[in-house]
Protein backbone atom coordinates (compact mmCIF):
# COMPACT_ATOMS: atom_id res chain seq x y z
CA UNK A 1 0.00 0.00 0.00
CA UNK A 2 1.37 3.37 -1.01
CA UNK A 3 2.04 5.60 1.97
CA UNK A 4 4.30 8.25 3.37
CA UNK A 5 5.19 8.39 7.02
CA UNK A 6 7.55 10.83 8.68
CA UNK A 7 8.24 10.95 12.39
CA UNK A 8 10.07 13.77 14.09
CA UNK A 9 12.05 14.61 10.95
CA UNK A 10 14.52 17.49 11.21
CA UNK A 11 17.02 18.76 8.72
CA UNK A 12 19.68 21.45 8.76
CA UNK A 13 21.59 22.41 5.63
CA UNK A 14 25.28 22.98 6.21
CA UNK A 15 26.72 26.26 4.92
CA UNK A 16 30.24 26.11 3.57
CA UNK A 17 30.61 29.41 1.78
CA UNK A 18 30.54 31.74 4.72
CA UNK A 19 32.14 31.93 8.11
CA UNK A 20 31.40 35.55 8.82
CA UNK A 21 27.78 34.88 9.67
CA UNK A 22 29.01 32.91 12.66
CA UNK A 23 29.31 36.03 14.75
CA UNK A 24 25.84 37.29 14.00
CA UNK A 25 23.38 34.42 14.00
CA UNK A 26 20.12 35.39 12.41
CA UNK A 27 17.60 36.75 14.85
CA UNK A 28 14.82 34.63 13.40
CA UNK A 29 16.69 31.52 14.44
CA UNK A 30 16.84 30.06 10.97
CA UNK A 31 20.64 30.17 10.81
CA UNK A 32 22.13 28.19 13.64
CA UNK A 33 25.33 26.52 14.73
CA UNK A 34 25.50 22.86 13.86
CA UNK A 35 26.24 20.18 16.40
CA UNK A 36 29.41 19.12 14.58
CA UNK A 37 30.63 22.67 14.05
CA UNK A 38 30.05 25.18 11.29
CA UNK A 39 26.89 26.96 10.38
CA UNK A 40 23.64 25.61 9.12
CA UNK A 41 20.27 26.72 7.87
CA UNK A 42 17.53 24.96 9.72
CA UNK A 43 15.07 23.86 7.09
CA UNK A 44 12.79 21.38 8.88
CA UNK A 45 12.13 20.82 12.52
CA UNK A 46 10.32 17.87 14.08
CA UNK A 47 7.99 17.19 11.18
CA UNK A 48 5.37 14.47 11.71
CA UNK A 49 3.43 13.49 8.66
CA UNK A 50 1.23 10.61 7.55
CA UNK A 51 -0.17 10.37 4.04
CA UNK A 52 -2.09 7.34 2.91
CA UNK A 53 -2.94 6.07 -0.58
CA UNK A 54 -5.18 8.32 -2.59
CA UNK A 55 -3.92 11.35 -0.70
CA UNK A 56 -3.76 14.73 -2.32
CA UNK A 57 -1.81 16.94 0.00
CA UNK A 58 -0.75 20.53 -0.46
CA UNK A 59 2.21 22.13 1.25
CA UNK A 60 1.67 25.82 1.70
CA UNK A 61 3.93 28.42 3.21
CA UNK A 62 6.06 31.43 2.41
CA UNK A 63 9.35 31.27 0.53
CA UNK A 64 11.94 29.52 2.64
CA UNK A 65 9.41 27.82 4.87
CA UNK A 66 10.70 24.35 4.02
CA UNK A 67 8.18 23.18 1.41
CA UNK A 68 10.74 22.22 -1.18
CA UNK A 69 13.01 20.65 1.38
CA UNK A 70 10.18 18.51 2.70
CA UNK A 71 9.36 17.34 -0.82
CA UNK A 72 12.97 16.36 -1.40
CA UNK A 73 13.18 14.54 1.89
CA UNK A 74 10.15 12.49 0.89
CA UNK A 75 11.77 11.94 -2.51
CA UNK A 76 14.85 10.54 -0.81
CA UNK A 77 17.25 13.23 -2.01
CA UNK A 78 18.14 14.50 1.45
CA UNK A 79 18.43 11.97 4.25
CA UNK A 80 17.22 13.82 7.37
CA UNK A 81 19.48 14.54 10.35
CA UNK A 82 16.92 13.32 12.86
CA UNK A 83 13.82 11.22 12.92
CA UNK A 84 12.65 8.38 10.76
CA UNK A 85 10.69 7.99 7.59
CA UNK A 86 9.11 5.23 5.56
CA UNK A 87 7.99 5.88 2.01
CA UNK A 88 6.24 2.95 0.35
CA UNK A 89 5.88 3.31 -3.39
CA UNK A 90 7.96 4.64 -6.23
CA UNK A 91 8.43 8.40 -5.97
CA UNK A 92 8.92 10.80 -8.85
CA UNK A 93 9.74 14.39 -8.11
CA UNK A 94 9.49 17.57 -10.12
CA UNK A 95 11.49 19.96 -7.98
CA UNK A 96 13.13 22.34 -10.32
CA UNK A 97 13.24 22.75 -14.07
CA UNK A 98 16.08 20.87 -15.73
CA UNK A 99 16.90 18.53 -12.87
CA UNK A 100 17.40 15.00 -14.10
CA UNK A 101 17.40 16.07 -17.71
CA UNK A 102 20.22 16.48 -20.17
CA UNK A 103 19.51 19.80 -21.78
CA UNK A 104 22.05 19.17 -24.55
CA UNK A 105 20.25 15.97 -25.53
CA UNK A 106 17.04 15.82 -27.56
CA UNK A 107 13.61 15.49 -26.04
CA UNK A 108 13.43 11.98 -27.45
CA UNK A 109 16.70 11.02 -25.80
CA UNK A 110 15.53 12.42 -22.47
CA UNK A 111 12.36 10.35 -22.62
CA UNK A 112 14.42 7.23 -23.32
CA UNK A 113 16.86 8.00 -20.52
CA UNK A 114 14.02 8.44 -18.06
CA UNK A 115 12.64 5.09 -19.16
CA UNK A 116 16.01 3.49 -18.50
CA UNK A 117 16.09 5.10 -15.06
CA UNK A 118 12.76 3.46 -14.32
CA UNK A 119 14.28 0.13 -15.24
CA UNK A 120 12.85 -0.30 -18.73
CA UNK A 121 14.89 -1.89 -21.49
CA UNK A 122 16.00 0.24 -24.43
CA UNK A 123 13.16 -1.20 -26.56
CA UNK A 124 10.50 -0.61 -23.94
CA UNK A 125 11.75 2.92 -23.39
CA UNK A 126 11.66 3.67 -27.11
CA UNK A 127 8.12 2.37 -27.27
CA UNK A 128 7.05 5.05 -24.79
CA UNK A 129 8.40 7.97 -26.79
CA UNK A 130 5.38 8.62 -29.00
CA UNK A 131 2.76 8.59 -26.26
CA UNK A 132 4.80 10.99 -24.13
CA UNK A 133 5.61 13.27 -27.05
CA UNK A 134 1.87 13.46 -27.79
CA UNK A 135 1.13 14.36 -24.21
CA UNK A 136 3.77 17.08 -24.21
CA UNK A 137 2.72 18.37 -27.66
CA UNK A 138 6.28 19.16 -28.63
CA UNK A 139 5.84 18.09 -32.26
CA UNK A 140 8.96 18.69 -34.31
CA UNK A 141 10.95 19.72 -31.26
CA UNK A 142 11.12 16.08 -30.19
CA UNK A 143 14.39 15.69 -32.07
CA UNK A 144 15.93 19.00 -31.07
CA UNK A 145 18.09 19.54 -27.98
CA UNK A 146 16.08 20.46 -24.90
CA UNK A 147 18.04 23.69 -24.53
CA UNK A 148 16.21 25.01 -27.60
CA UNK A 149 12.83 24.58 -25.89
CA UNK A 150 10.76 27.39 -24.51
CA UNK A 151 10.21 27.45 -20.77
CA UNK A 152 6.66 26.21 -21.13
CA UNK A 153 7.70 23.37 -23.39
CA UNK A 154 10.43 22.30 -21.00
CA UNK A 155 7.99 22.45 -18.13
CA UNK A 156 5.53 20.24 -19.99
CA UNK A 157 8.26 17.76 -20.82
CA UNK A 158 9.46 17.71 -17.21
CA UNK A 159 5.93 17.08 -15.98
CA UNK A 160 5.41 14.28 -18.48
CA UNK A 161 8.74 12.66 -17.59
CA UNK A 162 7.82 12.74 -13.93
CA UNK A 163 4.33 11.35 -14.27
CA UNK A 164 4.49 9.01 -17.29
CA UNK A 165 6.44 6.10 -15.91
CA UNK A 166 3.99 4.77 -13.40
CA UNK A 167 5.36 6.30 -10.22
CA UNK A 168 3.06 5.89 -7.23
CA UNK A 169 3.94 9.15 -5.56
CA UNK A 170 4.25 12.42 -7.46
CA UNK A 171 6.06 15.26 -5.67
CA UNK A 172 5.44 18.52 -7.46
CA UNK A 173 7.04 21.83 -6.61
CA UNK A 174 5.37 24.96 -8.05
CA UNK A 175 5.15 23.18 -11.34
CA UNK A 176 2.03 24.53 -12.93
CA UNK A 177 3.07 28.15 -13.37
CA UNK A 178 3.90 28.14 -17.06
CA UNK A 179 1.63 25.65 -18.76
CA UNK A 180 -1.17 27.01 -20.93
CA UNK A 181 -4.79 26.19 -20.28
CA UNK A 182 -5.09 23.07 -22.40
CA UNK A 183 -1.99 21.62 -20.81
CA UNK A 184 -3.23 22.42 -17.32
CA UNK A 185 -6.37 20.44 -18.06
CA UNK A 186 -4.27 17.49 -19.10
CA UNK A 187 -2.05 17.83 -16.09
CA UNK A 188 -5.11 17.88 -13.83
CA UNK A 189 -6.30 14.70 -15.42
CA UNK A 190 -2.91 13.07 -15.01
CA UNK A 191 -2.82 13.94 -11.32
CA UNK A 192 -6.30 12.55 -10.80
CA UNK A 193 -5.24 9.33 -12.49
CA UNK A 194 -2.35 8.94 -10.07
CA UNK A 195 -4.62 9.44 -7.10
CA UNK A 196 -7.29 7.14 -8.55
CA UNK A 197 -4.65 4.42 -8.91
CA UNK A 198 -4.12 4.50 -5.17
CA UNK A 199 -1.15 6.83 -5.53
CA UNK A 200 -0.29 10.03 -3.73
CA UNK A 201 0.21 13.56 -5.00
CA UNK A 202 2.04 16.10 -2.88
CA UNK A 203 2.04 19.61 -4.23
CA UNK A 204 4.04 22.50 -2.80
CA UNK A 205 2.97 26.03 -3.58
CA UNK A 206 2.59 29.44 -2.04
CA UNK A 207 -0.46 29.96 -4.17
CA UNK A 208 -3.63 29.23 -2.13
CA UNK A 209 -5.81 28.79 -5.21
CA UNK A 210 -3.65 25.99 -6.55
CA UNK A 211 -3.75 24.17 -3.27
CA UNK A 212 -7.53 24.57 -3.02
CA UNK A 213 -8.00 23.33 -6.56
CA UNK A 214 -5.83 20.23 -6.36
CA UNK A 215 -5.63 19.13 -2.77
CA UNK A 216 -7.94 17.67 -0.17
CA UNK A 217 -5.57 18.17 2.73
CA UNK A 218 -2.97 20.79 3.37
CA UNK A 219 0.00 21.43 5.55
CA UNK A 220 1.06 24.94 6.48
CA UNK A 221 4.81 25.20 6.96
CA UNK A 222 6.37 28.14 8.72
CA UNK A 223 10.12 28.36 9.30
CA UNK A 224 10.48 24.63 8.98
CA UNK A 225 7.72 23.71 11.39
CA UNK A 226 4.17 22.58 10.84
CA UNK A 227 1.99 25.48 11.81
CA UNK A 228 -1.27 23.81 10.91
CA UNK A 229 -2.48 20.64 9.21
CA UNK A 230 -5.91 19.52 8.13
CA UNK A 231 -8.57 20.11 5.55
CA UNK A 232 -7.22 22.16 2.65
CA UNK A 233 -9.97 24.80 2.92
CA UNK A 234 -9.37 25.38 6.64
CA UNK A 235 -5.60 25.53 6.35
CA UNK A 236 -5.70 27.89 3.39
CA UNK A 237 -8.19 30.12 5.16
CA UNK A 238 -5.94 30.32 8.21
CA UNK A 239 -2.86 30.89 6.03
CA UNK A 240 -4.48 33.77 4.20
CA UNK A 241 -5.42 35.52 7.42
Amino acid sequence: MVSISLKNVSLTYPIFDSRSVAKTPDGAGQIEKRARGGLGVRALRAIDLEIREGGRVGLIGRNGSGKSTLLRVIGGIYPPDNGEMIVTGETAGLFELGLGMRIEATGRRNIILRGLIRGLSMKEAQARVDAIADFVEIGDFLDLPVRTYSNGMMMRLAFALTTSFGADIALLDEWIGTGDKSFRTKADKRMQEIVANAGIVVLASHNPDLILKHCRHALWLDQGEIRMAGDAADVVAAYED
Binding site: G75, I77, L116
Partner: protein, 275 residues
Protein backbone atom coordinates in the same frame (compact mmCIF):
# COMPACT_ATOMS: atom_id res chain seq x y z
CA UNK B 1 2.67 -6.50 -10.37
CA UNK B 2 5.90 -5.82 -8.55
CA UNK B 3 5.79 -5.21 -4.82
CA UNK B 4 6.01 -1.49 -4.11
CA UNK B 5 9.44 0.05 -3.62
CA UNK B 6 10.01 1.08 -0.05
CA UNK B 7 12.40 3.75 1.05
CA UNK B 8 13.14 3.70 4.75
CA UNK B 9 15.44 5.97 6.61
CA UNK B 10 16.08 6.14 10.29
CA UNK B 11 18.56 8.80 11.33
CA UNK B 12 19.74 6.84 14.36
CA UNK B 13 19.99 3.46 12.63
CA UNK B 14 21.65 4.34 9.42
CA UNK B 15 23.02 1.02 8.22
CA UNK B 16 25.70 2.89 6.27
CA UNK B 17 27.51 -0.18 5.01
CA UNK B 18 24.42 -2.07 3.91
CA UNK B 19 23.17 1.04 2.12
CA UNK B 20 26.50 1.57 0.38
CA UNK B 21 26.50 -2.04 -0.81
CA UNK B 22 22.95 -1.81 -2.07
CA UNK B 23 23.88 1.48 -3.77
CA UNK B 24 26.60 -0.30 -5.74
CA UNK B 25 24.25 -3.19 -6.51
CA UNK B 26 21.51 -0.92 -7.81
CA UNK B 27 24.11 1.01 -9.78
CA UNK B 28 25.28 -2.12 -11.56
CA UNK B 29 21.65 -3.00 -12.28
CA UNK B 30 21.23 0.27 -14.16
CA UNK B 31 23.91 -0.68 -16.69
CA UNK B 32 21.73 0.23 -19.63
CA UNK B 33 21.41 3.73 -18.28
CA UNK B 34 25.08 4.40 -17.57
CA UNK B 35 26.17 2.99 -20.90
CA UNK B 36 23.72 5.34 -22.62
CA UNK B 37 24.84 8.29 -20.50
CA UNK B 38 28.51 7.58 -21.21
CA UNK B 39 27.81 7.63 -24.95
CA UNK B 40 25.90 10.89 -24.56
CA UNK B 41 28.83 12.39 -22.66
CA UNK B 42 31.20 11.70 -25.53
CA UNK B 43 28.71 12.83 -28.13
CA UNK B 44 28.33 16.06 -26.21
CA UNK B 45 32.09 16.54 -25.78
CA UNK B 46 32.68 16.26 -29.53
CA UNK B 47 29.43 17.89 -30.55
CA UNK B 48 29.50 19.48 -34.01
CA UNK B 49 32.98 18.23 -34.81
CA UNK B 50 33.23 16.45 -38.13
CA UNK B 51 34.94 13.29 -36.91
CA UNK B 52 33.52 13.16 -33.38
CA UNK B 53 35.11 10.76 -30.93
CA UNK B 54 37.73 9.81 -33.51
CA UNK B 55 39.49 12.94 -32.26
CA UNK B 56 40.55 10.82 -29.32
CA UNK B 57 42.44 8.54 -31.69
CA UNK B 58 43.94 11.40 -33.67
CA UNK B 59 45.17 13.23 -30.62
CA UNK B 60 46.61 10.05 -29.15
CA UNK B 61 48.42 9.20 -32.39
CA UNK B 62 49.93 12.67 -32.76
CA UNK B 63 51.10 12.81 -29.16
CA UNK B 64 52.59 9.32 -29.05
CA UNK B 65 54.47 9.77 -32.33
CA UNK B 66 55.79 13.20 -31.41
CA UNK B 67 57.07 12.09 -28.03
CA UNK B 68 58.70 9.01 -29.54
CA UNK B 69 60.42 11.13 -32.22
CA UNK B 70 61.69 13.73 -29.77
CA UNK B 71 62.76 11.10 -27.25
CA UNK B 72 64.69 8.97 -29.70
CA UNK B 73 66.47 12.01 -31.17
CA UNK B 74 67.41 13.39 -27.77
CA UNK B 75 68.65 10.20 -26.22
CA UNK B 76 69.71 8.24 -29.25
CA UNK B 77 67.55 5.21 -28.50
CA UNK B 78 66.23 3.34 -31.48
CA UNK B 79 63.02 4.92 -32.73
CA UNK B 80 60.72 1.99 -33.42
CA UNK B 81 61.03 0.04 -30.14
CA UNK B 82 60.82 3.29 -28.22
CA UNK B 83 57.67 4.20 -30.09
CA UNK B 84 56.01 0.97 -28.91
CA UNK B 85 57.18 1.69 -25.38
CA UNK B 86 55.70 5.20 -25.42
CA UNK B 87 52.48 4.17 -27.13
CA UNK B 88 51.67 1.41 -24.65
CA UNK B 89 52.71 3.37 -21.57
CA UNK B 90 50.83 6.48 -22.64
CA UNK B 91 47.72 4.41 -23.34
CA UNK B 92 47.75 3.05 -19.79
CA UNK B 93 48.56 6.45 -18.33
CA UNK B 94 45.65 8.12 -20.11
CA UNK B 95 43.21 5.71 -18.54
CA UNK B 96 44.72 5.99 -15.05
CA UNK B 97 44.92 9.76 -15.30
CA UNK B 98 41.30 10.04 -16.48
CA UNK B 99 40.05 7.73 -13.76
CA UNK B 100 41.60 10.02 -11.15
CA UNK B 101 40.84 13.45 -12.61
CA UNK B 102 37.31 12.51 -13.74
CA UNK B 103 36.87 10.82 -10.39
CA UNK B 104 37.41 14.15 -8.68
CA UNK B 105 34.45 15.75 -10.45
CA UNK B 106 32.17 12.74 -10.77
CA UNK B 107 29.57 13.99 -8.29
CA UNK B 108 30.04 17.70 -8.90
CA UNK B 109 29.34 17.24 -12.61
CA UNK B 110 26.18 15.25 -11.97
CA UNK B 111 24.72 17.54 -9.32
CA UNK B 112 21.77 18.17 -11.59
CA UNK B 113 20.83 14.48 -11.36
CA UNK B 114 21.79 13.86 -7.76
CA UNK B 115 19.58 16.68 -6.47
CA UNK B 116 16.69 15.77 -8.74
CA UNK B 117 16.20 12.05 -8.28
CA UNK B 118 16.92 9.31 -5.82
CA UNK B 119 19.45 7.39 -7.87
CA UNK B 120 22.37 5.29 -6.65
CA UNK B 121 25.56 7.33 -6.49
CA UNK B 122 27.48 4.44 -8.03
CA UNK B 123 25.52 5.04 -11.23
CA UNK B 124 27.54 8.18 -11.89
CA UNK B 125 30.78 6.38 -11.09
CA UNK B 126 29.99 3.67 -13.61
CA UNK B 127 28.90 6.27 -16.16
CA UNK B 128 32.22 8.04 -15.84
CA UNK B 129 34.27 4.84 -16.04
CA UNK B 130 32.28 3.58 -19.02
CA UNK B 131 33.11 6.84 -20.77
CA UNK B 132 36.80 6.44 -19.93
CA UNK B 133 36.71 2.87 -21.27
CA UNK B 134 35.27 4.08 -24.57
CA UNK B 135 38.05 6.66 -24.82
CA UNK B 136 40.54 3.91 -23.99
CA UNK B 137 39.22 1.76 -26.83
CA UNK B 138 39.60 4.56 -29.36
CA UNK B 139 43.23 5.03 -28.33
CA UNK B 140 43.90 1.31 -28.02
CA UNK B 141 42.93 0.80 -31.66
CA UNK B 142 45.73 3.20 -32.64
CA UNK B 143 48.15 1.60 -30.17
CA UNK B 144 47.57 -1.80 -31.76
CA UNK B 145 48.19 -0.19 -35.14
CA UNK B 146 51.45 1.34 -33.94
CA UNK B 147 52.65 -1.95 -32.47
CA UNK B 148 52.18 -3.83 -35.72
CA UNK B 149 53.34 -0.97 -37.95
CA UNK B 150 56.67 -0.87 -36.14
CA UNK B 151 57.14 -4.56 -36.82
CA UNK B 152 57.03 -5.42 -33.14
CA UNK B 153 55.45 -8.84 -32.77
CA UNK B 154 53.98 -9.04 -29.31
CA UNK B 155 54.73 -12.40 -27.70
CA UNK B 156 51.90 -14.58 -26.47
CA UNK B 157 52.70 -13.43 -22.97
CA UNK B 158 51.41 -9.97 -23.96
CA UNK B 159 48.00 -11.33 -22.98
CA UNK B 160 49.18 -10.87 -19.39
CA UNK B 161 48.36 -7.18 -19.92
CA UNK B 162 44.65 -8.02 -19.80
CA UNK B 163 44.50 -8.74 -16.05
CA UNK B 164 46.31 -5.44 -15.58
CA UNK B 165 43.33 -3.74 -17.22
CA UNK B 166 41.09 -5.39 -14.66
CA UNK B 167 43.28 -3.93 -11.91
CA UNK B 168 42.95 -0.51 -13.56
CA UNK B 169 39.17 -0.86 -13.60
CA UNK B 170 38.99 -1.75 -9.92
CA UNK B 171 41.20 1.18 -9.04
CA UNK B 172 39.13 3.45 -11.23
CA UNK B 173 36.05 2.58 -9.17
CA UNK B 174 37.94 3.23 -5.93
CA UNK B 175 39.38 6.49 -7.25
CA UNK B 176 35.96 7.77 -8.28
CA UNK B 177 34.44 7.09 -4.88
CA UNK B 178 37.50 8.28 -2.95
CA UNK B 179 38.28 11.49 -4.81
CA UNK B 180 34.68 12.13 -5.81
CA UNK B 181 33.63 12.36 -2.18
CA UNK B 182 36.68 14.27 -0.96
CA UNK B 183 36.47 16.81 -3.76
CA UNK B 184 32.73 17.39 -3.45
CA UNK B 185 33.33 18.44 0.14
CA UNK B 186 36.76 20.08 -0.22
CA UNK B 187 36.97 21.65 -3.64
CA UNK B 188 40.69 22.53 -3.39
CA UNK B 189 41.60 18.87 -3.60
CA UNK B 190 40.56 18.77 -7.24
CA UNK B 191 43.09 21.47 -8.11
CA UNK B 192 45.79 19.75 -6.07
CA UNK B 193 45.16 16.42 -7.79
CA UNK B 194 45.13 17.93 -11.26
CA UNK B 195 48.44 19.66 -10.63
CA UNK B 196 49.93 16.52 -9.12
CA UNK B 197 48.87 14.39 -12.07
CA UNK B 198 50.46 16.80 -14.54
CA UNK B 199 53.74 16.61 -12.61
CA UNK B 200 53.49 12.85 -12.20
CA UNK B 201 53.24 12.43 -15.94
CA UNK B 202 56.88 13.51 -16.10
CA UNK B 203 57.93 11.64 -12.96
CA UNK B 204 56.60 8.30 -14.19
CA UNK B 205 58.62 6.32 -16.74
CA UNK B 206 56.34 6.98 -19.72
CA UNK B 207 58.28 9.18 -22.12
CA UNK B 208 61.63 7.96 -20.82
CA UNK B 209 62.87 4.60 -19.58
CA UNK B 210 64.08 3.88 -16.06
CA UNK B 211 67.55 3.27 -17.50
CA UNK B 212 67.62 6.86 -18.71
CA UNK B 213 66.59 8.21 -15.35
CA UNK B 214 70.07 8.40 -13.84
CA UNK B 215 69.97 9.49 -10.24
CA UNK B 216 66.19 9.71 -10.31
CA UNK B 217 65.94 5.95 -10.58
CA UNK B 218 66.13 5.40 -6.83
CA UNK B 219 63.13 7.65 -6.35
CA UNK B 220 61.03 6.02 -9.00
CA UNK B 221 60.11 3.22 -6.69
CA UNK B 222 58.22 5.59 -4.48
CA UNK B 223 55.90 6.45 -7.33
CA UNK B 224 53.01 3.94 -7.29
CA UNK B 225 52.17 4.66 -10.93
CA UNK B 226 55.49 3.11 -11.93
CA UNK B 227 54.16 -0.29 -10.90
CA UNK B 228 50.75 0.08 -12.44
CA UNK B 229 52.22 1.11 -15.78
CA UNK B 230 54.72 -1.72 -15.51
CA UNK B 231 52.16 -4.51 -15.12
CA UNK B 232 50.45 -3.40 -18.33
CA UNK B 233 53.47 -2.42 -20.42
CA UNK B 234 56.10 -5.03 -19.59
CA UNK B 235 54.20 -8.04 -21.02
CA UNK B 236 53.51 -6.26 -24.32
CA UNK B 237 56.85 -4.51 -24.79
CA UNK B 238 59.33 -6.88 -23.13
CA UNK B 239 57.35 -10.09 -23.02
CA UNK B 240 57.78 -10.58 -19.28
CA UNK B 241 55.43 -10.60 -16.32
CA UNK B 242 56.78 -8.20 -13.69
CA UNK B 243 55.85 -10.11 -10.55
CA UNK B 244 57.33 -7.57 -8.18
CA UNK B 245 55.20 -4.79 -9.67
CA UNK B 246 52.18 -7.07 -9.58
CA UNK B 247 52.49 -7.65 -5.86
CA UNK B 248 52.82 -3.98 -5.11
CA UNK B 249 49.94 -3.08 -7.45
CA UNK B 250 47.65 -5.65 -5.88
CA UNK B 251 48.51 -4.47 -2.37
CA UNK B 252 47.80 -0.85 -3.27
CA UNK B 253 44.58 -1.89 -5.04
CA UNK B 254 43.33 -3.76 -1.97
CA UNK B 255 44.15 -1.06 0.55
CA UNK B 256 42.84 1.74 -1.65
CA UNK B 257 39.66 -0.21 -2.39
CA UNK B 258 38.91 -0.73 1.28
CA UNK B 259 39.63 2.91 2.12
CA UNK B 260 37.45 4.15 -0.70
CA UNK B 261 34.53 1.95 0.28
CA UNK B 262 34.71 3.00 3.93
CA UNK B 263 34.77 6.64 2.90
CA UNK B 264 31.82 6.12 0.57
CA UNK B 265 29.78 4.20 3.13
CA UNK B 266 30.41 6.80 5.79
CA UNK B 267 29.74 9.97 3.80
CA UNK B 268 27.25 8.79 1.18
CA UNK B 269 24.27 10.34 2.92
CA UNK B 270 26.05 13.71 3.13
CA UNK B 271 26.95 14.09 -0.54
CA UNK B 272 23.68 15.77 -1.52
CA UNK B 273 24.30 18.46 1.09
CA UNK B 274 27.70 19.41 -0.27
CA UNK B 275 26.73 21.17 -3.49
Amino acid sequence: MNPPVTYQYHADRRKDFARALSDVGRGIGLWRLWLALAQDDLRQRYRRTSIGVVWVSVSYLVFATTIALIGSHMTGVELLPFMVYVAVGYLAWNFINASITDGCTVFINTENWISGMRLPYSLFVFQSIARECLVFLYSAAIAVGIIFATGHTPPLIALAALPALLVFLINAVSAHFFFGILVTRFRDISQIIQTAMRVLFFLTPLIWTPEQAGGLREWLWWNPFTYFIDIFRAPIVDGVIPWHSWWISLTITTVFGILAFILFAHFRRRIAYWF
